[in-house]
């Protein structure tokens, strides 16, 4: 944990692709951190859903990823940078039901094509960019100030 000069808490987490045995650990840690500092439970649920989906995308598709949680008095910022295959067509990937998951993942109950749409639904602001063959970057903002929420 680091405290930067502008009243901001920052946490970094590393995720390894294919590591199903630790999958969910980062989103659980994020939830616990937010509970500890007394964030409203409705916000925690949204942050937990968004971070779980982001984390699982790295586990399922990428080689590795770095997850950063920044907490300011106004908002939660969840940034995820991964090294992986990237996404060819982001519009298509954002469509509910679209998935490139393998049969094995689908049997486990993944690959419903709900991951990115779930992130978007729970974020006040969601930016996604990707370079095919290199990786994907997600920026998820959840406002703590009620007036700025969507």
């Amino acid at each position: 944990m680091m405290m930067s000069d502008k009243n901001e808490l920052s946490h970094h987490f590393e995720i390894n692709g294919g590591d199903f045995s630790n999958a969910g650990r980062i989103s659980t840690s994020i939830k616990e951190i937010l509970q500890e500092i007394g964030i409203d439970s409705s916000i925690i649920v949204r942050a937990a859903i968004a971070s779980y989906e982001a984390e699982m995308n790295v586990v399922m598709y990428a080689q590795r990823g770095v997850f950063t949680l920044n907490i300011t008095p106004e908002k939660l910022l969840l940034n995820l940078e991964d090294e992986g295959p990237g996404i060819e067509n982001i519009d298509l990937a954002m469509k509910e039901g679209f998935s490139t998951a393998t049969d094995e993942m689908r049997e486990m109950g993944f690959g419903a094509g709900m991951g990115l749409p779930n992130i978007k639904k729970n974020a006040d602001k969601f930016d996604i960019s990707s370079i095919p063959g290199k990786g994907t970057s997600l920026k998820i903002t959840i406002c703590l100030d009620r007036t700025e929420r969507k």
Binding site: M108, G109, F110, N118
Partner: protein, 111 residues
């Protein structure tokens, strides 16, 4: 309704999380898709599923579910049991199928 009473009425076998049987069950959520459960289940829900692999534990933990009912007498994987113990997540096994378990739980909770 307490989890212990649900266990008794639905004739469930408690495999892990015995110490959490005092938890309040707020309802049920029946699904085998993890993203669906993550998005739509509510705190205190009992999750009815046929999934037996270890990743169900993180989902239950993350959404503060009261427990997981595995249907059709399917047996959880060894690493699932291990994780459930570490995280204190109740795993309950039913011999019945999801349709029957869901119907009975619905009756119980709404009565």
């Amino acid at each position: 309704m307490k989890l212990a009473e649900t266990v008794e009425k639905l004739n469930l076998k408690v495999v892990t999380g015995e110490e959490n049987l005092g938890a309040e069950v707020t309802g049920g959520y029946t699904s085998d898709l993890l993203s669906d459960v993550i998005a739509n289940s509510k705190e205190g829900n009992l999750w009815i599923t046929l999934q037996t692999h270890q990743n169900i534990i993180a989902v239950a933990k993350l959404k503060d579910l009261s427990g997981i009912i595995i249907v059709n007498n399917r047996q959880p994987d060894e690493d699932t049991l291990q994780k459930a113990k570490e995280e204190n997540v109740p795993i309950l096994i039913s011999e019945e199928m999801a349709y029957e378990v869901s119907g009975k739980l619905y009756e119980l909770i709404s009565s």
